[in-house]
Point group: C2
Chain length 211, copies 2
DNA sequence: CGATGAATTGAGAAGCGTCAAAGTACGTGG
DNA sequence: CCACGTACTTTGACGCTTCTCAATTCATCG
């Protein structure tokens, strides 16, 4: 199932590869290393006490995840698509904390904030009334973080994950996406290609206007 | 409106008082001090880009909030009830970071994680289907963090705040709370006193069983 | 070329939001 | 001490949104 990675050293620059749906680290596991995502999407997953699975956050190229704020990882990280990432030892990272009391903070604190923000962003999105508002806000959010290639975004994110992230059902996600397509607000030439045709309209939907 | 606080020094031990609904710090304001809550409840509020208000997290006695992960505060902190808190200079706190690379981590990192967790907990609650599940999970959560006095919790939290936290309407919160009272799952002798009569049942509701 | 998981679509029912109005608690000022 | 204003809670009625279930089509991979 999960193809074993060959742990070639000296890929600090290039990055370690992982296949779609592979688990990068698991909740509860001791924090051994910090990951910096280079390519692809990673989802943070948590299981509520009753065992229900939830996508709590998404991480994009450039993001750092798995910071050792506690002894153990606070969530499970899974590759959504095929990814490339770099690893750093947690201890190494922690020693980096000592050197950051300079006023120009571009330090580990920034990384912590960036990781935390991913979770807070979901809260902000889930707080909206109406699933269309959530979806529109979500698309706006994702698009701001996704690498763009001539107007088209690489959107290889299963609708099941979107549904879980938005706390709704896959069917609803599908129907609302179709609406957005029919109204020419977005376009999807392929299932994994996203284009925003009318960003303003999307914003208005995110604001809760039914239009 | 906001009674000016007299900034008596040497209340590091006792704590500074603030009245209900007072703003402790505002989003965007530069991080000057870190707060440690001693008594009462504080809510973290954010305004979505369209100006809609959201309660993103709650802080309980013992919690630390306002950590300078960035230059500016990432949310607005408001006293829900009358509160007592201690202040520490942000710079002082930051220098504390340097001294924490020991393995026994009971350091600033723990405080960061605790603050972040408040936001993540909301995400976990909002992820559930059915508002009753959310409310039940919320009550279970709150109760685990609230100081108890012989079986009865001090629950001075307006339903409007609960509604905002749960991303629902105040009316729905009211109706569901009444259901819980009628089913003898909770009891509220007064509006600000909460008692859990059947914790197991509450858990089942939180798990999504309609029962 | 089948097999597996994801996306799609429809129909029906229930949950929940909205609007409107009245009731309650609490602090403030006369 | 009472009257009033403000903020919060409660309740009802109505209708849309969204979930659930089920069936079909579509993609991807072996």
């Amino acid at each position: 199932m999960h193809q074993p990675l060959q742990m070639i050293s000296a890929d600090r620059a290039i990055g370690v590869p992982a296949r779609a749906r592979e688990t990068l680290f698991m909740e509860g596991e001791p924090c051994r290393s910090v990951l910096e995502l280079r390519r692809g999407l990673v989802r943070a997953v948590k299981f509520s006490s009753e065992g229900e699975r939830q996508v709590m956050a998404l991480f994009f190229p450039g993001d750092v995840l798995g910071l050792p704020l506690a002894q153990e990882h606070r969530f499970t990280a899974e590759a959504v698509s095929d990814v490339l990432y770099a690893r750093q030892s947690s201890l190494e990272w922690q020693t980096g904390l000592s050197v950051c009391n300079s006023p120009g903070v571009d330090s580990p604190l920034r990384a912590i904030w960036q990781e935390e923000k991913a979770f807070m962003d979901r809260g902000l999105i889930l707080g909206r009334g109406g699933i269309m508002a959530r979806l529109a806000a979500f698309l706006g959010y994702v698009v701001r973080r996704l690498p763009i290639q001539n107007e088209v975004y690489d959107f290889s994110l299963p609708q099941g994950d979107i549904a879980s992230y938005l706390a709704t059902s896959p069917e609803t996600v599908c129907r609302l996406m179709r609406q957005l397509r029919e109204r020419k607000i977005i376009a999807m030439a392929r299932k994994d290609k996203l284009e925003i045709l009318d960003a303003q309209w999307l914003d208005r939907l995110a604001a809760g206007e039914s239009v």
